[in-house]
């Protein structure tokens, strides 16, 4: 994709044409009989202090993107640059110093904490690993981190099972912060939490962003959450990004039919307002045999013959607004869909019924 061809200064993270294919093995000799195209050519950048929201339905590969960037999974192809340094082809040992720059918060606050380590040890471990602090100093720093994420110093001696879900996620955040990273990848960090606790954790993350100038890659399936925290949003469908733009234009004028359908599913908190729902028919096609041409053509309400054979390239329809759809031409953001399908924008587009 054009916008990410060469490493530019100023971007903290630059992902170019990232691919992750999982082989499917069968039989006694573990012959490779096919691939799951979990992530199939994803490119984006994240600036300093910026939050990029990555949304999509389950199984579209958004978590795999996060893990491939972190090198918890080895990417099949593509490049990842962190601070201008190419990290995608480093081995685990060479990768280790770069892990300090980039941390992760996991979805499940229960299984992402070792049940046999105390909370203080969990948060202190990254500092031990990088030789940042030992003994009393480590304890003091852990205490400060606990205070930062809204936990009390007495909690340091407790074990994960003694905490609530929200508190455990705070522990996860404290652990990620312990090495002063510049990028935090949140792999659905709030989707396992109650709504009231979600808000607390998100606000905490936003406060920490301001304080430490953190960048986030915020992976989620909840559009309301993404709208709240993100500066820019990328929408993924079946291993590819279909639309990427700043938060405002995405929610006001989505250009891709899939984004439009997603947004129409967000409930409006008013009994009088109703929006026309775009109900997609059928299931997401299997990522083992993705459909030819545009991957969305099997479910797209505006499908044309052309869509079934040619894969739409990423086009910049408005400054900073990228869409992969044959209906859109470069430089011409069209609001036609929004007009005849009724607007699906959450902020402005709710129509009275």
């Amino acid at each position: 994709m054009a916008e990410a061809a060469s490493p530019k200064k100023g971007h903290l993270l630059e992902v170019t044409d990232l691919k992750k294919h999982f082989p499917i093995r069968k039989g006694i000799f573990s012959r490779i009989t096919g691939h799951v195209f979990a992530v199939d050519g994803v490119s984006f950048t994240i600036g300093h202090g910026e939050t990029l929201g990555l949304v999509g339905e389950s199984g579209c590969g958004k978590s795999t993107v996060g893990k491939a960037i972190l090198k918890l999974l080895e990417p099949t192809a593509g490049e990842v640059h962190l601070n201008g340094k190419k990290i995608s082809d480093l081995n685990q040992l060479e990768m280790r110093p770069h892990r300090r720059e980039m941390q992760v918060i996991f979805q499940d606050p229960y299984s992402s904490l070792n049940p046999r380590m105390s909370a203080g040890d969990i948060v202190g471990e990254p500092m031990y690993n990088y030789g940042l602090a030992f003994g009393k100093e480590k304890e003091e720093k852990t205490r400060q981190l606990f205070a930062k994420v809204g936990l009390r110093a007495e909690h340091m001696l407790k074990y994960p099972h003694e905490f609530s879900g929200g508190q455990r996620q705070r522990l996860g955040i404290a652990r990620a912060l312990a090495v002063n990273p510049s990028l935090i990848i949140g792999d659905e960090p709030v989707s396992a939490l109650d709504v009231s606790v979600q808000a607390q954790v998100i606000n905490l993350m936003m406060d920490l962003q301001k304080e430490f100038n953190l960048s986030y890659l915020f992976i989620a399936h909840d559009l309301a959450v993404v709208e709240h925290i993100s500066h820019r949003v990328a929408v993924m469908y079946l291993g590819k990004i279909v639309e990427m733009t700043d938060k405002r234009s995405l929610f006001v004028a989505p250009q891709h039919p899939y984004t439009e359908a997603l947004l129409s599913a967000v409930p409006i908190p008013s009994p009088k307002m109703k929006r026309k729902r775009i109900i997609l028919t059928g299931d997401v096609p299997s990522p083992i045999r993705p459909p030819p041409g545009c991957r969305f053509h099997t479910r797209c309400p505006y499908v044309m013959d052309h869509c079934k054979v040619a894969e739409p390239p990423m086009k910049e329809v408005a400054p900073g607004h990228f869409v992969a759809c044959h209906l859109r031409q470069p430089g011409q953001a069209m609001y036609a869909i929004a007009a005849h399908a009724t607007s699906s924008a959450r902020t402005a587009g709710a129509t009275e019924h």
Binding site: L72, Q107, S111, R116, E125, N129, V179
Partner: protein, 296 residues
């Protein structure tokens, strides 16, 4: 509960109870563990202080007093050479416990290392597991006979012969637990915070293996005591000049109809020891892993 607002999280930290009270509570809840340990502990004491309990010489022959039934002087009677069965049984405790403990210690230690590597490093796994399958196919008795034929009968050989077929069981257990744990997000989390390979194994994976491993070790111990007795009974185990329960019973076998006591008393000791170890293992399993207890 102290005054907390409904929204406030429960953060009352209970002061830890005094250790003595904790132990009393544990014992009340796990009576099998207590019963098993008391039995086993008395066996250990008997083994260590054997000369004190049985002042005589277990090898002293007295043909004039052979095949005497149990009496005040000879509590467990005498065998066909006039040796005191009581003294021999007491000394036999040593061999059984030494074999049981060393086999369970060695096989869990070796099995733990191999199992952890095989579970965590996929490259090693395929090869190691095939070797383990091969080892599992060797019967302990045959191996013991082969080793005796190659070298000479000794307690060390018995320990080795029993240990080798036990290792694959431990490897399989450990590997299974490691495979389960390595998929946990907290292992990924440990990687992402730069935890080194050996530290992940020791700090994150090992503590989760300890509970099932300890339980398995007790079962291996009980099995080893039984196998040792069996091997000695067949004449493929402890050399006959060392009194072990299996040896005593093997020698008394031919006189069973006229002198039952030669077989009865070592047999009783053997049963009680194995029972004690199994009780301890069962109790520990229930105490360490409540999920397993419910499944039984």
């Amino acid at each position: 509960m102290t005054a907390t607002t409904p929204a406030a999280v429960i953060d009352i930290i209970e002061p830890p109870k005094p250790i003595g009270q904790q132990i009393v509570e544990f014992c009340r809840r796990n009576t099998t563990v207590v019963f098993g340990s008391i039995l086993l502990l008395s066996m250990v004491i008997i083994a260590i202080f054997a000369p004190f309990f049985a002042p005589g010489d277990p090898l002293a022959l007295a043909p004039a007093r052979r095949l005497r039934p149990p009496s005040e002087t000879y509590w467990f009677g005498t065998d066909m050479f006039g040796r005191d069965v009581f003294t021999r049984t007491i000394y036999g405790t040593r061999i059984s416990l030494i074999v049981g403990i060393s086999v369970s210690f060695l096989s869990t230690l070796i099995g733990l290392v191999i199992g952890m590597l095989s579970g965590y490093v996929r490259m090693v796994d395929a090869i190691v597991m095939r070797i383990m399958d091969g080892l599992m196919a060797i019967p302990g008795i045959l191996l013991a006979i082969a080793m005796m034929a190659l070298t000479k009968a000794s307690v060390e050989n018995v320990v080795i012969a029993i240990t080798i077929p036990e290792i694959p069981r431990v490897v399989r257990l450990v590997r299974g637990v490691v495979l389960q744990i390595r998929e946990q997000p907290y292992i990924e989390a440990a990687q992402s915070i730069g935890t080194r390979f050996h530290r992940i194994l020791i700090k994150h994976i090992l503590p989760n293996i300890m509970a099932p491993l300890i339980v398995q070790a007790t079962y291996i111990c009980a099995a080893a005591v039984l196998i040792e007795a069996g091997l000695s009974f067949l004449g493929a185990g402890t050399p006959p000049n060392i009194p072990s329960w299996g040896n005593i019973m093997a020698e008394g076998r031919t006189f069973f109809q006229i002198a039952f006591w030669i077989i009865l008393f070592p047999g009783l000791f053997l049963s009680v020891t194995v029972l004690a170890i199994n009780l301890l293992g069962d109790g520990l399993r229930d105490a360490l892993d409540p999920r397993l207890a419910r499944r039984m």
